[in-house]
Amino acid sequence: MDIVVCIKRVPAFGAQVPLTDDGLAVDTRHLGFTIGPHEECAVEEAVRLAAAHGGRVTVLTVGPEEAGEQLRYALAMGAHQGVLVDTGTTDLDPEATATAVLAGLADEPAPDLLLFGDASADAGHGQVGVRVALACGLPIVGGVTGIEAESGAVPENGAVAENGAVTENGATLRATRDTPGGTEVFGLSVPAAVAVKEGLNLPRYPTLPGRLKAKKAALRTVTCGPEPGGLRTLGLRRPADDRAGAIPLGRGADAAPAVVDVLAELGKV
């Protein structure tokens, strides 16, 4: 099962989110960067699926040259190759990001499975997976926290599986997700796209040999300057924080009576 995983380079915030003086972006001069948590789970799942069913894992990202750092992290986790769509920035609107992802996919063999994170950890539009899948003619389900693959389960072309999925090349995926109304289960036949959420698995930490190998790996770079879409960012700001500062209730075990007083005031004991 050949898999492409789309990941995003996002700032790793601490408790504060600094902004640039012009308010147009997060000031990342003193921040580290990471792969969004949902996407880290997508990489982990891809590596596991490829190990269990064969196939190659390609990680793809859209951003500046520095986003190669996140591709290398995914390679260190066990992905086989990386594609950097160099747009100079990660601050693109969802339509432009989807165009850039498609530019990166154009020269790759069509994957059996295209994985996304459910929404990026910074902008959080949650649209790129759906836009890309549609352009590729792939079914997509989002918010997925469980994937089970059955390879070769249905050999006949065009056979209808029990779950209603029309199977064409014999592999089906059972994708589950939690919604406020309960758990929803989808039967997908590959090729398909899935957007996943954290909780799908526990991503591994890269091994040292993995990191060393990833450091030397060649990344394929595609340059892309996508047309902007209809949603234009004018600026970022922090919401007003009207919290007054914490009321101290004491230290250690001695604080217990004051804590229980508060619990009583709130009607909880």
Binding site: F13, G14, A15, V17, L19, P37, D93, A121, D122, A123, G124, H125, Q127, V130, P139, V141, G142, G143, N163, G164, A165, D178, T179, G181, G182, T183, E184, V185, F186, L188, E198, G199, L202, G229, G230, L231, R232, L234, L236, R238, P239, D241, R243, A246, I247, P248, L249, R251, G252, A253, A255, A256, P257, V259, V260, D261, V262, L263, K268, V269
Partner: protein
């Protein structure tokens, strides 16, 4: 026309007000629902009429009888094409957002999700000026949406515009719609109802643990405290990443966002990823050895100390007072501590 999408059968009162504020004077506000929603169209129409929505379009197709993001999104894209609305609004619920996202992709239109403010551009361009949340609400993004049809999802925390809503007779119009047969591929094949009882997202009290809890066994006292307070246990990302708790217990940007009456953060530093998940709670009690931890600064109440000492002491105090109260009718039992006392 401004069009409201009702994909999950829930009419969100803020939507008609926002739609009305975006509409020009004589422009109607109408709504669209799906025959497979499971809520009678008459009920939805009755509710919408109260908010001045004049028509409810109900779309029918056998593929819409069960939920499927692609089929429903495709049907909505068709309706948008038929009706040619100036704007399309949906709530930020899971299903509404998903249907609108699929419709936007199919119609080739931009979409602004999680908006907390929407207004027409004053220059008469027909564009919308909006504010949306980013990173779970820790940042606000001001943006401009320019499109022949403008699509947005509206967060629960939206600023509701003060516009008069004239109640209307909301007429129901049923229409058959074409849905490409291959979109059966993403219909829900099976459903498992959620467990009843308290869940993290609905519990009035959440007792959460992070790095300071130190391990899975450290959560035993948190469980006990949660049970005492009629709540459930939550945790930070550190706790799930260490395998101390399952991910379904995680409060935060990539876990569950909660709005409890009381949130008790035990040994949680309060990084942004976690803070955005609990910040909507009415009261927050932080217990941490580090008085400088962000959670200790931003909480409503703070106790400086080790979770392993503080939580058992709080439990002992609760038990002591409960025993005192239960025993106060009998003789020879210790008096309950007077409220507001602080024994040091």
């Amino acid at each position: 026309m401004q069009l409201i999408v009702v994909a999950d059968g829930q009419v969100v009162p803020e939507l008609p007000a926002v739609a009305r504020s975006l509409a020009s004077r004589d422009e109607p506000v109408e709504a669209v629902a799906f025959a497979g929603t499971g809520v009678p169209a008459g009920d939805v129409a009755g509710e919408l009429g109260g908010y001045g929505v004049s028509r409810l379009h109900v779309v029918r197709h056998e593929l819409l009888d069960e939920y499927g993001p692609e089929a429903w999104g495709s049907a909505l894209a068709t309706v948008i094409d038929w009706l040619g609305p100036a704007g399309v609004l949906a709530s930020a619920s899971h299903r509404d957002t998903e249907v609108l996202t699929h419709a936007a992709a199919r119609a080739g239109l931009p979409l602004a999700t999680n908006c907390v403010r929407l207004a027409g551009e004053e220059d008469g361009s027909g564009a919308w000026r909006l504010t949306r949340t980013r990173s779970g609400g820790v940042l606000l993004e001001d943006a401009e949406l320019t499109a022949p049809v403008k699509l947005a999802t509206v967060a629960a925390a939206v600023e509701t515009p003060q516009v008069p809503l004239q109640p209307a007779d909301c007429e129901v119009t049923e229409s058959a719609v074409d849905v490409p047969p291959e979109l059966a591929r993403t219909r829900v094949a099976e459903r498992v109802a959620s467990e009843t009882g308290l869940s993290l997202s609905t519990a009035p009290v959440v007792v959460s643990g992070g790095r300071g809890v130190g391990g899975a066994e450290g959560f035993v006292v948190l469980e006990e405290l949660a049970e005492r307070l009629g709540g459930v246990v939550g945790c930070s990302r550190v706790a799930t990443n260490n395998g101390w708790r399952p991910h379904r217990d995680q409060v935060g940007l990539t876990g569950t966002k909660i709005a409890a009456d009381l949130y008790i953060a035990c040994g949680i530093s309060g990084a942004t990823q976690h803070w955005v998940g609990c910040m909507d709670s009415a009261a927050i009690l932080a217990i941490n050895t580090d008085p400088e931890a962000p959670m200790m600064q931003r909480a409503t109440y703070a106790v400086e100390g080790d979770v392993h000492e503080v939580v058992p002491a709080v439990l002992a105090e609760i038990r002591r007072r409960a025993d005192g109260a239960a025993g106060s009718g009998r003789s020879g039992v210790e008096e309950p501590a007077p409220a507001g006392s602080s024994r040091r």
